[in-house]
Symmetry: C2
Subunit: 212 residues, 2 copies
């Protein structure tokens, strides 16, 4: 509608592919610096902002869950149908118990307090057929974080949406749409912790709480 550009972000195939790769890698709710990094790297393939990345993960996660829920729902409908004679469940939250364990076993925590980038999770058609090698530094290889379940409540919920206060990664350097070089990108040598490539903003970040 506006002459200068579309009103909403339209991901290029490369961007989409990378995002899905990261998602399959286990990243569900990237934190501020993760979003910053992902955005910076995706900007190489086209115009993109941090909020696009944020929304993409949010939507993708939600719609995955929704798909799964629908699937389980119909499965219940078909198979058992009258095992629970419905206890007049007015509160829709009981649905959450259908979707809380994302297709793999979970310690019976509240569905909120699981560590964000923790599980391989998904287990549908994808992810079980993939390598899960950590192409991206955000894929904090999950198999190593099993050290102890003590972190379940302490570090859980940390690194949440501190991103909201972070700035976008700059006016997306004039885009370019390269031909997708088969994922040898990302030197994976960046410092990662908090300080990003926008030094003039780092002073006003909300101290990036590690155990908020």
């Amino acid at each position: 509608m506006s002459p200068t550009g579309s009103s909403r972000w339209c991901p290029t195939p490369e961007q989409l592919m990378i995002l899905e790769e990261i998602y399959r890698g286990g990243t569900r709710t990237p934190n501020a610096s993760q979003i910053q990094q992902i955005t910076a790297h995706l900007a190489f393939y086209g115009k993109i902002e941090g909020k696009n990345v944020f929304y993409w993960f949010q939507n993708h996660k939600a719609r995955d869950r929704q798909k799964l829920r629908r699937k389980l729902m119909s499965k219940q409908m078909h198979q058992q149908h009258v095992l629970y004679n419905h206890h007049h469940h007015n509160n829709y939250h009981h649905l959450n118990y259908l979707e809380a364990p994302p297709a793999c076993v979970l310690p019976p925590l509240s569905h909120y307090s699981r560590p964000v980038g923790f599980l391989p999770q998904v287990g549908d058609e994808e992810a079980s057929s993939k390598q899960m090698v950590s192409y991206y530094p955000w894929n904090v290889d999950h198999r190593l974080h099993q050290e102890s379940f003590e972190m379940d409540n302490s570090m859980a919920r940390s690194c949440g949406r501190d991103w909201m206060m972070m700035q976008d990664v700059g006016p997306t350097p004039t885009c370019c749409n390269r031909p997708l070089k088969t994922l040898e990108l990302f030197p994976s040598s960046q410092p990662l912790p908090s300080k990003m490539s926008t030094p003039h903003l780092s002073t006003s970040l909300p101290q990036l709480p590690t155990t908020n």
Copy 2:
């Protein structure tokens, strides 16, 4: 717990008073620049960030709605009790029809698509007994925006959370906790449109869409 400060924002009485004043003035979902301005002014009374303002309005609005809903609920329970013989309303969203009109008549839009800072709205105990004079530039005196209902769908949902990409208003100049000078503050002569007092940030704003 941490020696340098509390983990969450604790509003000073002055900040709270001003926020409530603005809220009573009709501002429910301030946009990015509104949040910036409010934050800047509140920073005079103590440490504060943009997200605090954002969350405050979100929570305050939600809990207002919740209070009202509860009230209507109990009223229904007491008075009518069996007017609608419940059609097995499993979907909890029907509750929204109880709360959508915020204590005053509304065109039957979806509860989402009403213009954000539009109605005097509230009408409970407060706001109906106040002057509603526009102490603050954010209180775009509602009585003048009645020009036509054409904006209902076009401009609705605009100026939403573009704030998310905006930066905080700087490292809150060492706070000060002044003794609350009875609201003669705010010269109400600021330009308002977009450009804030943090010029080094204005370049990376997401173009502040007016009709996103």
